[in-house]
């Protein structure tokens, strides 16, 4: 999967920096500049997530696009962060190990190496807590 250049510069890709709406208390990751509930009445501020969460649902990816093929099979999950927002990420564990309700915590890992010896893209993955 080719990646637009600016993605590598996005800090929230590396350190779970998101945003929250001070009007209604909702947290957003990736950050949103506009609260979908309060819209212009919302007050958006930056926030950092603890990185702890729970697996809500998952799959084991066995057929992937070329940049990810060498990693297959890999567990992929929707993780609800303790602050209440959900994100999609890989969980580093055995395929048999992952289950709904599993507690996980974030780690900083390599996501892909683009092409042969190409640019390495880093980001957030999770490991069992």
């Amino acid at each position: 999967m080719s990646v637009p250049r600016y993605w590598r510069k996005q800090l929230n890709r590396y350190n779970l920096k998101g945003s929250k709406c001070e009007t209604c208390g909702r947290h957003f990751f990736p950050p949103r500049g506009l609260c979908p509930e309060c819209r212009r009445d919302g007050k958006i501020v930056d926030c950092e997530f603890s990185g702890n969460g729970t697996v809500r649902t998952f799959s084991i990816i066995r057929t992937a696009s070329s940049d990810y093929d060498i990693q297959t099979p890999y567990p992929l999950a929707i993780i609800e962060l303790d602050e209440g927002t959900c994100m999609t990420a890989q969980v580093i564990c055995e395929p048999e190990e992952i289950h709904i309700g599993m507690k996980v915590k974030r780690v900083f890992r390599r996501i892909i190496a683009e092409g042969n010896g190409g640019v390495i893209v880093y980001g957030t993955k999770f490991v069992p807590a």
Binding site: M1, V3, W7, P30, R56, T57, F58, S59, I60, I61, R62, T63, A64, S65, S66, Y68, D69, Q71, Y74, L76, A77, I78, C86, M87, T88, A89, Q90, P95, I100, I111, V121, G123, T124, K125
Partner: protein, 386 residues
């Protein structure tokens, strides 16, 4: 608003079409639709064409003009527009054509869809399709399209006790129907064992839970109901056409196993047509993966949440059941050229309502279509009747 009718339908055979080009696929479907309506190209006022990713699959953009050109319709310089909502691009084209005719802006409009997906390798196809979801926050972290729907399946099975066998029965039923559709890509019947033995793609989904990669095109012609008898003895009325949106990413949804955009589009369509699910004789739903058919049946209101597996197991969604689902074979067996699917669904309902669906005919006067883009970020529903 004027009443609108479908007066012509045209399809190409679905499958791997290495011997024909993207543009010729559309031209073939469009010509078939004109032939069916006994109409000349000069009578067409406007074209809408659904296409998800000409740019990725055949490196071609500016699809509207290309299609108008090769369909021989540049002579009159009629407007031609490509519309895109991933796998719901065809549905969107239909709704654009419908509103254009209903509003009185144009009289005779073609709604078509085309996709040529087999010219690139499997891995590139997977990558292009991942663009139907949130590329940055789903695709880039390793989510594939089947993987996202697999996460819906995991959630659904955990909450509602759906069995792996019940899920397989969706594919078995759709292949049975597709075997009776001369345009279908996989015209062969399969068994539950075949599904359970097929390769795992993204647990719990296996190869035979997935719609295939397909080349194909479809086109329909719409006009005001009051003009329809000039072209056909069996005009099919568009009783409703609705569309809804939701978050692009699955992880932002209220409930992973309910497609809220399906619920919204369905309700709007029923309201517009002043009908309820009980009035519908058959439905073409978006079974890009077996789990989605079950979600759709429930979210459209044909049964309660969690009951669609049982309904399928009891044969109620099969030909002859209380609500036949995907008589064309669905995306599963008929094939899923993403931009064309939403139009193909309309073609199937029209064929059924005209009584021309030989070998898979359902006795009904009202049918419905349901077309999903992404994992449910866009949904289009249409209700058609005799």
């Amino acid at each position: 608003m004027r009443e609108v009718a479908v007066v012509g339908i045209g399809l190409t055979e679905f499958g791997e079409k290495w011997d024909t080009s993207f543009r010729n696929l559309f031209v073939e479907a469009g010509a078939n639709a004109l032939e069916d309506a006994g109409m000349s190209g000069d009578q067409i006022d406007e074209i809408f064409v659904g296409n998800m990713s000409g740019g990725r699959f055949v490196l071609q953009e500016h699809i509207g003009a290309l299609i108008a050109d090769f369909a021989g319709l540049t002579k009159n310089h009629i407007p031609s527009t490509r519309v895109e909502a991933a796998c719901a691009s065809g549905g969107l084209a239909f709704r654009q054509a419908y509103t254009t005719v209903a509003s009185g802006i144009q009289d005779i409009v073609i709604a078509g869809g085309v996709e040529k997906m087999t010219d690139v390798g499997g891995s590139e196809t997977t990558d292009a399709l991942a663009g139907a979801a949130d590329r940055e926050w789903e695709g880039l972290v390793g989510a594939t399209f089947p993987g996202l729907y697999a996460m819906i399946a995991t959630d659904y099975m955990n909450r509602y006790g759906l069995t792996r066998e019940q899920l397989a029965m969706v594919a078995v039923k759709n292949h049975y129907n597709g075997a009776r559709n001369p345009m279908a890509q996989y015209r062969k019947e399969i068994t539950v064992e075949d599904v359970l033995r097929s390769t795992l793609v993204a647990d719990p989904l296996r190869l035979l839970d997935c719609s295939p990669v397909t080349d194909g095109a479809a086109a329909v012609i719409l006009c005001p109901l009051e003009m329809a008898r000039e072209f056909t003895d069996t005009p099919i009325k568009v009783l409703a056409s609705s569309q809804a949106s939701d978050t692009i990413a699955l992880h932002d949804r209220r409930d992973f196993s309910t497609l809220d955009a399906t619920v919204a589009a369905g309700r709007r369509a029923f309201k517009q047509a002043s009908l309820t699910p009980k009035d519908i004789g058959m439905v073409e739903v978006h079974d890009c993966f077996t789990i989605v058919e079950l979600c759709a049946i429930e979210d459209l209101g044909f049964c309660a949440k969690g009951q669609a597996g049982k309904l399928t197991e009891d044969g109620q969604t099969a030909l002859g059941g209380s609500i036949p689902v995907n008589t064309s074979g669905g995306l599963k067996s008929c094939g899923h050229p993403v931009g064309a699917t939403g139009i193909k669904q309309v073609c199937e309902i029209v064929e059924q309502l005209r009584g021309e669906a030989v070998g898979r005919q359902v006795d009904a006067e009202i049918g419905m279509t349901h077309n999903v883009g992404g994992t449910g970020a866009t949904v289009v529903c249409n209700i058609l009747g005799v």
